[in-house]
């Protein structure tokens, strides 16, 4: 275990780059919402009408969905199912795995199509993956300089204060 066991750390610069990427994907794929989650259910970034949905729940359920599907894949001897697609009456969800640890979620309606979404997702995934690799390299570098955790200086009082109410 290498990347999976480490903490994910994201800095301002990568956050902006990823958000830009998701915004571009949203436009290119004519989607309503584009959303990036990690496999543990933490939301990372999003674009589009994200204030219309409960993004925290969306992130957690997506991760649960992917985890269950991964389990199914292994049961039948597949490494993973890299794409999941849920078709609804109006809205559809396209879910794909990026760089083994992130999940890209695209929600779209009749203004787009599965083919277009798949095409655009493929290109965007490669870009997100590149940023992810850089992010990990940076976290390691900064981590080596002992700066990775904002909690390094945390005191017992800081922690107690969280529960004072």
């Amino acid at each position: 275990m290498t990347v999976d066991s480490s903490n994910l750390v994201m800095y301002e610069e990568e956050f902006e780059r990823i958000t830009d990427l998701l915004q571009r994907l949203r436009v290119d794929a004519s989607a309503k919402i584009v959303f990036l989650v990690d496999k543990n259910g933490q939301q990372i970034a999003g674009a589009g009408e994200i204030d219309q949905v409960d993004t925290t729940s969306l992130a957690s359920l997506t991760a649960g969905n992917v985890a269950a599907t991964d389990g199914l894949a292994r049961l039948i001897g597949e490494k993973e199912f890299s794409i999941l697609f849920h078709e609804g009456r109006k809205d559809n969800i396209h879910i794909s795995i990026v760089g083994q640890r992130l999940i890209l979620v695209v929600i779209f309606d009749e203004r787009s199509s599965l083919g277009l979404v798949r095409l655009r997702v493929r290109k965007a995934s490669a870009d997100v993956e590149r940023i992810l690799v850089e992010m990990e390299a940076k976290a390691q570098e900064v981590g080596a300089a002992d700066m990775a955790s904002p909690f390094a200086e945390i005191t017992d009082e800081d922690i107690d204060a969280l529960f004072s109410e």
Binding site: M10, L162, F163
Partner: protein, 194 residues
């Protein structure tokens, strides 16, 4: 695996409530949900069967406030306790930062407690964690039941590393926040250590 987001200045951690079937894991989350301020909590999601048994997980996001300018967001999960849902339990432990083991104090459930703890050990190991080192708290639930065995007896069976343990009656909230606070503290200390 915590997620530190410098852009949004927040840190996300994952706590999992583990334990045998019907020990009160979901009840813990329900109580926390009821008693938390609306601005602190997100939706409580329960993926349960028609008879309200947890099928996959319950999920409750909770903001505990700020530490050093970083918002602390705790994602609380429960696992399905029933023995045959083991594959799901393993999945939910992925990326966990801290574990609460909810033990059922009733005498008839002692074997189930021990089996579930052993199962936790195995499933953590499969996810690359060690029960011995992960932030961990023991909750002795259902202390109000007449068939509850003595605290000393359960501790003798379940305590293995001097972990903090709390007596609880989750249905009325006794011990629920004490348990959460204890595990959250350990997780934050662990973050400081890394």
């Amino acid at each position: 695996m915590s997620f530190i987001n410098y852009a949004a200045r927040e840190i996300n951690v994952k706590i999992v409530y583990y334990g045998p079937g019907l020990c009160g894991k979901t009840t813990n989350l329900q109580y926390i949900y009821e008693k938390s301020n609306p601005q602190q909590k997100g939706k409580l999601i329960s993926l349960a069967t028609e008879t309200d048994r947890t099928l996959f997980f319950d999920f409750l996001p909770l903001d505990l406030g700020s530490v050093r300018g970083f918002k602390t967001r705790f994602h609380l999960y429960t696992v399905p306790g029933q023995v045959f849902y083991d594959a799901s339990r393993k999945l939910i432990l992925k990326g966990v930062d801290g574990v609460v083991f909810v033990a059922d104090s009733q005498e008839a459930r002692m074997d189930a407690n021990v089996e579930s703890l052993r199962n936790l050990d195995d499933n953590l190991a499969d996810n690359g964690f060690e029960l011995k080192t992960i932030p961990y708290v023991l909750q002795l639930n259902k202390r109000d039941l007449p068939s509850a065995v003595s605290v000393e007896e359960i501790q003798r069976k379940l305590v293995f590393k001097g972990e903090p343990s709390f007596e609880a009656v989750a249905t009325i909230g006794t011990g629920v926040f004490e348990t959460l606070k204890a595990v959250a503290k350990q997780v934050l200390y662990e973050l400081r250590r890394r």
